[in-house]
C-alpha cells in the first residue's frame, strides 16, 4: 500500500552563533508510517524536531506539511512529546489535559471525551484527578503521551518516547502508536533504541555531525547496504577469513559465527571457503540490523 507523503523537510540549515547544528537536511515522511530520526547526542535531532515544529526558524530551507510551509496554524495541529518531559506539577491531570487539548483547538466537549478514552486505553483513569507530582514516573510519562496525542494530531513528533517506561508500558505505548498509524497519523520518532526504531519505522534518517548520513526506506537501505552479514555455524578454525580482506567477526550471538563481509566479496565464495575449512551445517546471509547500519554510519568518536 502506498502512502501519501505528508511531511517534507527540504534542505534545512541552522547555525547557532558559530556552531552548525543542522546542515542541509532533507527527508520526507509518509502518512500512516513512522519515520525514525537517529543519531548520536548532539547530532542535531532535537534542533531538527524544533524546526519541524516551527519553534526554531531555519536559516535556510523549508518544512512543508501537505505541500504548505508550516506556520503557526498548521503547527498547532501537531502533537509533540518532548524528550525533556514537562507538566504543571500541581495542576490536576484532567485539568491539564483539558487545557492542552483546548489550546490545540479542541472543544471542551470533545476534549473531555478523548481524555476519558485515552486514559482508559493507557490505564490512567484512576489518576485523572491527581496532580502529576503525586504520580509515578511511568504514569507521568503516560500523561505526557496523552498530552501529545489528545487532539488527534496528523503529525506526532516523539522524542525518545520510550525512555522511563517498563517493558509492559512500552508495549502499551506502542499499541497506542499503532492505533494512531491505523488512523493515518504521520509519526516522527527520534530515539537511541535501535530495536524499537527497527520495529516501528518504515523510513529512517541517520544524522551525524549535522548531516544526514543515511536516509530513506529502511528496507531499501538494508537491501542496498554494501556490507553483507553472514551467520554460520561455529567452525574450529577461522583462518579462511584471511582470504577476504576487510571481513571481520562480529560479537557472536547464540553460538553462531557472525561475519561482516565488505562489498566486493561474494557470500558464495565465503560459503565455499567455509565448507573447505570444516563441517558447516548452517550458513545464512542476513540483512544488516539497524544497529549495524547505525554503527557503520556514525563516526565512532561521535557515538555517545
Amino acid at each position: 500500500m502506498t502512502r501519501d507523503t505528508t511531511l517534507e523537510v527540504d534542505n534545512i540549515t541552522k547555525t547557532f552563533t558559530t556552531v552548525c547544528a543542522v546542515d542541509g537536511l532533507s527527508f520526507t515522511a509518509k502518512s500512516g508510517t513512522v519515520f525514525g530520526l537517529l543519531g548520536p547526542n548532539g547530532a542535531g535531532k532535537t534542533t531538527t524536531i524544533r524546526m519541524v515544529l516551527d519553534i526554531i526558524v531555519p536559516d535556510s530551507g523549508t518544512v512543508r506539511w501537505q505541500g504548505k510551509t508550516v506556520d503557526a496554524d498548521i503547527r498547532r495541529t501537531f502533537g509533540y512529546l518532548p524528550e525533556e518531559r514537562g507538566l504543571y506539577p500541581k495542576m490536576k491531570v484532567r485539568d491539564q489535559l483539558m487545557f492542552l487539548a483546548q489550546l490545540h483547538g479542541l472543544s471542551a466537549l470533545d476534549a473531555r471525551k478523548t481524555i476519558e478514552d485515552l486514559a482508559a486505553q493507557l490505564n490512567l483513569t484512576e489518576h485523572l484527578e491527581k496532580a502529576p507530582q503525586e504520580l509515578s514516573k511511568g504514569n507521568q510519562q503516560k500523561v505526557q503521551f496523552i498530552a501529545a496525542v489528545v487532539h488527534a494530531p496528523p503529525l506526532l513528533v516523539l522524542d525518545e518516547p520510550f525512555s522511563g517506561f517498563d517493558p509492559v508500558n512500552v508495549e502499551v505505548v506502542k499499541n497506542s502508536i499503532r492505533q494512531l498509524l491505523a488512523a493515518d497519523t504521520t509519526v516522527l520518532l527520534s530515539s537511541h533504541r535501535m530495536e524499537q526504531v527497527e520495529e516501528l519505522c518504515e523510513d529512517v534518517c541517520i544524522i551525524d555531525r549535522s548531516r544526514a548520513v543515511q536516509s530513506g526506506s529502511l528496507r531499501e537501505i538494508k537491501r542496498n547496504w554494501p556490507d553483507r552479514f553472514v551467520r554460520m555455524s561455529p567452525l574450529p578454525n577461522t583462518d579462511f577469513l584471511k582470504a577476504f580482506p576487510g571481513a571481520s567477526i562480529l560479537p557472536g550471538r547464540n553460538g553462531f559465527l557472525d561475519v561482516k563481509l565488505p562489498a566486493g566479496h561474494s557470500p558464495a565464495e565465503l560459503a565455499r571457503a567455509a565448507i573447505a575449512s570444516g563441517p558447516l551445517d548452517h550458513f545464512e546471509v542476513v540483512e544488516p540490523s539497524l544497529n549495524d547500519i547505525y554503527l557503520a554510519a556514525v563516526k565512532p568518536e561521535h557515538t555517545a
Binding site: T17, R50, L53, I55, I56, V57, A72, R75, R76, F78, Y80, P82, E84, R85, G86, L87, Y88, P89, K90, M91, F99, L100, Q102, L103, H104, Q144, A147, A148
Partner: protein
C-alpha cells in the same frame, strides 16, 4: 484570541486555587482589619507617651501659668508646691523620682539676680529630650502671664487668646490637617502601588522561569505563539492582582466603617483620636486614614491608582518576563532581584521626593517618562494640579512603552524559553535577538 483566553483562564484559576494565594489574601484582610484598630492602640499609646512633668516654681502664680501652658500641649504636669527654687539646680529627691521613672522630665523655674524668670530643664525620656523646643515655646506664654502684675494678668491672658483663622487659598487643602491627610493617603497608596508592581511583576518572572524549569514550555511553545504565552501570563496575573487588590480594598472599606462605628461615636474613641492627634505627623495620618477611611479618598484618585498600577505593572512585567525567560532556575530570581527591582525603587524614591515637591522640573519631566511615570504621575495628580496634556503624555507614553517592551519581551521570550543552563551574556542575547529578526 481563544488561545490567549485559555492561557489567561489557566493562569488565573491555578493561581487562585493555590494555598499560598488563599493564605496571602486572608492574611492581607486580617492585617487591614488590624490596622483599622490602630486608632485605639494609638490612643492608649498616646496616653502613656504624653510627657509627665514635675515642676518646681518660685511662686504659685508662675506654677499656675506654667501648668496651664504645658497642659495645652497635652502634657501631664505635677507641681511640687513645697519647693521654692532659688537657682536651676535639681534637688536630689526630685532627681531620685525622675530616675525611678515616675516622671519624664523635671522643670525648675527660679528668679535670677535681676528677678527675671529662668528655667532649668531636666529631660530623662527621649521624648522629653526631643520636645525641649516645644517646652521652651510653651513657656513664653507662661512667662508673659506670670511676670505681669496681678491686675493686668487677666487682660494679658485674655489678649493671648487671640483668634487665628486659616483661610486657605490653596485649591486642594482647606487646612494643614487636610494637606497632611491628603499626603498621607498618597503616600499610603504609593506604597501599595510600589509593592503591587514589584510583587506581581516578580510573579510574572518566576512564573515564566517555573514553566521553563519544569519544561512545560516545550509543549506550550508548540501550541501557542510566544507573544500569546506572554500575554496569557501577564493578563492572568493581572487578573489575580485585581482580585486580590479588590478584596483588600473591600476589607479596608468595611474595616473603616467598623472603626468609624467603634471609635468615631464613643467618647473613649474621640478621646483616643484627640490624644492621637497630638502625636507625630505619621501617626496622625494613620489615624486619619483609619478613622475617615478609604471612602474619604476621592474616587478620581482611586481610579488613577488603578490606571497607573496597570501602566506600571504592564511595563515592568514585560521587562520581568523578558529577563525571566533568560534564566533557568527559580533560585536565580533571587540573584537577579536587584536587576528586577532597581528601576521600581528609583521611581519610588523619586515619587517620595515628588510628594514634597510635585512641581519641580525633574518631577514634571519624570512624570512623563515611561517606567518612572506611573509612580510619579500618580503622586503629582494626587498632590497638585496637573495639566491634562501632561497626564495624556504620561499615559500615552506608557502605552507606547508597554507596546515596545512587550514586543522586545516577546523576542527575548522566544529566544530565552528554550535556553537552559547559565544565564546568557548580553552579547549572546543580542546575537540571538538579531538571529530571530
Amino acid at each position: 484570541m481563544r488561545t490567549v483566553w485559555l492561557l489567561i483562564k489557566r493562569e488565573f484559576i491555578e493561581r487562585v486555587r493555590q494555598r499560598s494565594f488563599v493564605v496571602a489574601t486572608v492574611l492581607g484582610v486580617l492585617s487591614i482589619i488590624a490596622l483599622a484598630l490602630i486608632p485605639s492602640m494609638i490612643g492608649t499609646f498616646a496616653k502613656s507617651q504624653s510627657t509627665k512633668f514635675i515642676i518646681a516654681t518660685p511662686d504659685v502664680a508662675t506654677a499656675t501659668a506654667i501648668e496651664e501652658s504645658l497642659r495645652k500641649s497635652g502634657s501631664l504636669v505635677e507641681v511640687d508646691l513645697k519647693r521654692r527654687p532659688m537657682n536651676g539646680a535639681l534637688p536630689p529627691d526630685m532627681k531620685a523620682k525622675l530616675m525611678k521613672g515616675k516622671y519624664d522630665a523635671a522643670l525648675i523655674a527660679y528668679r535670677d539676680a535681676q528677678h527675671h524668670l529662668a528655667f532649668a530643664y531636666y529631660p530623662k525620656s527621649a521624648n522629653a529630650l526631643q520636645s525641649a523646643d516645644e517646652v521652651e515655646a510653651s513657656l513664653q506664654r507662661a512667662v508673659l502671664i506670670a511676670d505681669v502684675s496681678a491686675s493686668q494678668r487677666d487682660a494679658v491672658s485674655q489678649a493671648l487668646k487671640f483668634p487665628f483663622d486659616v483661610h486657605s487659598l490653596n485649591a486642594r487643602y482647606k487646612n494643614a490637617e487636610d494637606e497632611i491627610f491628603s499626603q498621607g493617603i498618597v503616600y499610603f497608596l504609593l506604597i501599595i502601588l510600589y509593592i503591587a508592581v514589584i510583587a506581581y511583576g516578580m510573579q510574572v518572572a518566576t512564573g515564566v522561569i517555573e514553566e521553563k524549569a519544569n519544561r512545560i514550555m516545550e509543549v506550550m511553545i508548540g501550541a501557542a505563539r510566544p507573544t500569546q504565552l506572554l500575554a496569557g501570563k501577564i493578563f492572568g496575573i493581572s487578573a489575580v492582582a485585581l482580585l486580590q487588590l479588590t478584596i483588600n480594598a473591600v476589607a479596608a472599606a468595611v474595616a473603616a466603617i467598623i472603626a468609624g462605628v467603634l471609635y468615631g461615636a464613643s467618647p473613649n474613641g474621640k478621646q483616643a483620636i484627640a490624644m492621637a492627634s497630638q502625636m507625630q505627623q505619621q501617626q496622625q495620618v494613620g489615624k486619619l486614614i483609619m478613622s475617615q477611611g478609604l471612602p474619604h479618598v476621592p474616587w478620581v484618585t482611586l481610579a488613577f491608582l488603578i490606571v497607573f498600577f496597570f501602566l506600571g505593572f504592564f511595563s515592568y512585567s514585560a521587562i520581568y518576563a523578558g529577563i525571566g525567560s533568560l534564566l533557568s532556575k527559580p533560585e536565580e530570581v533571587q540573584q537577579y532581584a536587584m536587576v528586577f527591582m532597581a528601576p521600581v525603587i528609583a521611581a519610588y524614591v523619586l515619587a517620595i521626593f515628588a510628594l514634597q515637591f510635585p512641581d519641580l522640573t525633574i518631577v514634571v519631566w519624570g512624570s512623563m517618562i515611561p517606567l518612572v511615570s506611573p509612580l510619579l504621575m500618580f503622586t503629582r495628580i494626587s498632590t497638585t494640579d496637573v495639566p491634562a496634556w501632561q497626564i495624556a503624555v504620561s499615559i500615552g507614553g506608557s502605552l507606547v512603552a508597554i507596546w515596545g517592551l512587550t514586543l522586545l519581551a516577546g523576542k527575548l521570550y522566544r529566544v530565552g524559553v528554550l535556553m537552559y543552563g547559565k544565564p546568557p551574556r548580553p552579547v549572546e542575547i543580542w546575537r540571538a535577538l538579531r538571529a530571530h529578526t
